[in-house]
Symmetry: C2
């Protein structure tokens, strides 16, 4: 029989009439035998559930059963019957099993036992065969799909902003250089410096830190656009929250002011989280249990009040609180932890940036709701944010989530050429290099706004994974570029 | 009134009851006046159609109308009325117009006249404000969306394969190096070579040429996956078909053989092209006309038999012909152009690669249908393709389209460890570096297959654009990394 006649386990579980003949293909998760029968739990990645094969030694040879070890790939044909055991309503009475690929139990790294997360990261090519990682990557898929669907349904256009770029105007951090020069034979200028005019692009280039500026160009013609692409930071940060390569979603909208931007971001986040709550029930239930187990190993004072599913419902069911930076600063300054000097970074002067501990205090203790902080001091925000009348603040917003802190950052953009130009001069950002960006303010400028969502932060929030390296298939961090 | 109360032009055209009060925002395409009235064609990017504003000087001041030049951004409030003129059924009787952003007609580069494509590439930040480019990028969006929807609906999972990678195993071409080393102060080893152990990833890294190998890893756990991400080739090719940075879609399926792979690719291409035929009617009609104009400027013998829309229908309505390389070689060898020495690369020996001229002959002259060529000589294909029984060919496929030649390349993958390993040894591909790839054959290997679609080639085919630089917002080619 042809491969395409196989049934996926997800489909089989959804609608498998008892008595039907089916062919399954997948990988063995576990095998257990007694003298009368062998039970094999098969998984094909289509869903979190394994499907139980019942192999009677009178039909299935010992030789085959011996090879049906954890990790082996097999094809099983048989009849769907009501299950005698608990845990499943039906099972497959195997009439024939073929081993497609063996997995030597002495050598196969992913055995049915608890592996450390670090071990699984070192085996990232195989970790997707575990329940946890398969669930994470299925949810990651559904989140990505929900994001495209949300914007598409609203009439936004997906724009591919460039990955290799000659500008680092955002100043968002250290960048990776991109070059085709032979590093062992670098061409030099008369001054003895590297001659980048001989490089592939005839200038210095790096990997993008954000697609926003190019998104703005497109919004100034198509009205509503979004990017969804990889971005890069060459920061030497070995933390559970940083990746050198990560994916960002950056919508940009003409004819939006700061409040429209907040409305969109809130609606968007609630939509995509609702979407996975509806479409990834089993995977989320599994990760909810997993997160609860993890919590138990933490000290009492570090445990979350909310379980994973509770946290997701919390975001979907609560209107986000909106306060200005100045209001947040006042709350924090007068807060108990600040007065009792519990913050690692005490809140004193107006104008200092908020740290994760402050953001979590606001979300998890003070408001007990997702929080949007607006109108930050201009000194701690980017040059392109719209300057408020007060001369001190800009029309920025950060959205804060429980457990994770900032998940979205955005702003209304400065659409007034004179203000933008003056701010760039203050910050010594080259207006010559950014001629194309300034052109959008020179010709038919329009009020506009946008925001950025770090995709892996979102996946972390939704799956409850503590380490960002566990929510992207092949993480890139200092010293790590395997696979 | 708030920005969010504006009506998008697409919506207005779809359902604008005469007499309703609306607010439009967008950019002026053209303005023409007689002594009684001024007509302004406004476009907001939501669709290809402009909406006509009728401005009576008794209501709208001369000062405002003077500023409503091509490229200016404005807000217009008024009443929808039946149009007197041809070209539209309704128009807006303007009661108030505000200029949001001026565009000095002496300086604004995009005037309502024919600009050269090269001029527009140099102004890629503004070219999206033209009808042609806005249509292209809307279609690009719909194609991307259709691709996600197709795979999602079929139970595939979207996988983000890494962009920065330490492997160039595919040997697909020249790569871009990624580094954080200071090129003017490179650290050296004792042997005097660059010490990459001091680089960010503690080894040499480059930009990915394909996500396939990582896609295979995921398919060996989740069954059906696809990637959709940027890939890079540092080839010094200044052609109308090459980009240094382009987007690829690479599905990878466990339990698929070569024929299943062909079936999927054919169904997939027909689906996404049908999708845009349904959802991008106006934009395609515009580009169809544009392509017809272009054809007129070509010499008679270089003109296409089919118009743009005909070509799209041709792909959707014809089953693809499937032939082996050997059959194709025989057809070509015996073809008129080969016998009359019209091919730049004459077809003689079995085993040579097919050129674009041969592919186009098969599709456009011999079969007059899209063609899938299978079972290529192993010497001209990649190491990972499944070896056929004949010892000479592999289970590869290329899909050829009219006008464009190869649009998809794929294969059943070599799942047998011994065969794969032997082939890698023959080709001197390091098995040590590729330990993780070989692990999938060591542990639970499964028959699997996949293919790659160059997204920009697809957009070129669908939009009829002759130069690939015109179907990606900000093209990267040798010497070009502006914006």
């Amino acid at each position: 029989m042809a491969f395409k006649d196989r049934t996926k386990i997800r489909k089989l579980i959804e609608s498998a009439p008892e008595g039907s003949q089916v062919t399954l293909m997948g990988w063995v998760r576990t095998k257990r035998s007694n003298k009368n029968v062998t039970f094999i739990a098969l998984n094909d990645g289509s869903c979190i559930q394994n499907y139980q094969l019942v192999a009677d030694p009178s039909r299935i040879s010992e030789e085959i059963l011996k090879k049906a070890n954890t990790g082996a790939c097999l094809k099983a044909q048989g009849r769907v019957v009501a299950s005698q055991g608990s845990g499943q309503s039906t099972e497959l009475l195997a009439e024939r099993i073929d081993i497609l690929g063996e997995a030597d139990p002495e050598k196969y790294p992913i055995q049915p036992k608890k592996h450390s997360m670090e071990f699984l990261r070192e085996n990232a090519h195989l970790r997707v065969r575990t329940s946890t990682f398969a669930a994470i990557f299925r949810i990651r898929h559904h989140l990505a799909y929900a994001i495209h669907k949300y914007f598409h349904d609203k009439g936004f256009f997906y724009i591919h902003s460039p990955i290799i770029t000659a500008s680092d105007a955002e100043g968002a951090g250290e960048t990776f250089r991109v070059t085709t020069l032979d590093l062992n034979k670098l061409p030099k200028t008369e001054e003895g410096l590297v001659d980048f005019r001989q490089d592939f692009f005839e200038r210095e280039t790096n990997l993008t830190v954000s697609g926003q500026l190019e998104g703005e160009l497109a919004a100034m013609a198509l009205s509503d656009v979004y990017t969804f692409g990889p971005t890069f930071r060459a920061e030497n940060s070995n933390t559970t929250r940083h990746l050198a390569e990560f994916w960002m979603i950056e919508p940009e909208m003409a004819f939006y002011d700061a409040e429209d931007n907040q409305d969109l971001a809130e609606d968007f986040l609630q939509y995509i989280i609702s979407y996975v709550l509806t479409h990834c029930k089993e995977d989320l239930a599994f990760l909810d249990k997993r997160a609860a187990e993890e919590e138990k190993s933490k000290k009492a004072d570090q445990r979350s009040d909310l379980g994973l599913l509770d946290r997701l419902a919390f975001v979907v069911n609560n209107r986000f609180v909106r306060i200005t930076y100045t209001e947040a600063w006042e709350i924090l300054r007068n807060s108990k932890p600040n007065k009792k000097k519990k913050f690692a970074f005490p809140i004193e002067e107006w104008g200092t940036d908020l740290q994760s501990e402050h953001e979590r205090y606001l979300v998890e203790k003070h408001f007990n709701k997702p929080v949007i902080i607006t109108d930050y001091p201009k000194a701690i925000k980017s040059f392109y944010m719209r300057q408020n009348e007060d001369g001190k603040t800009v029309a920025a917003m950060d959205i804060l989530f429980p457990g994770i802190g900032e998940i979205v950052g955005g702003s209304q953009r400065e659409e007034r050429l004179d203000k933008l130009s003056a701010r760039m001069e203050e910050l010594q950002i080259s207006q010559d290099e950014m001629w194309w960006y300034l052109d959008t303010r020179r010709f038919g400028t329009a009020p506009h706004a946008g925001f950025g969502l770090g995709f892996e932060r979102l996946v972390q929030f939704v799956t409850g994974m503590g380490n960002i390296r566990d929510v992207i298939p092949f993480p890139r961090t200092p010293g790590n570029a395997e696979f």
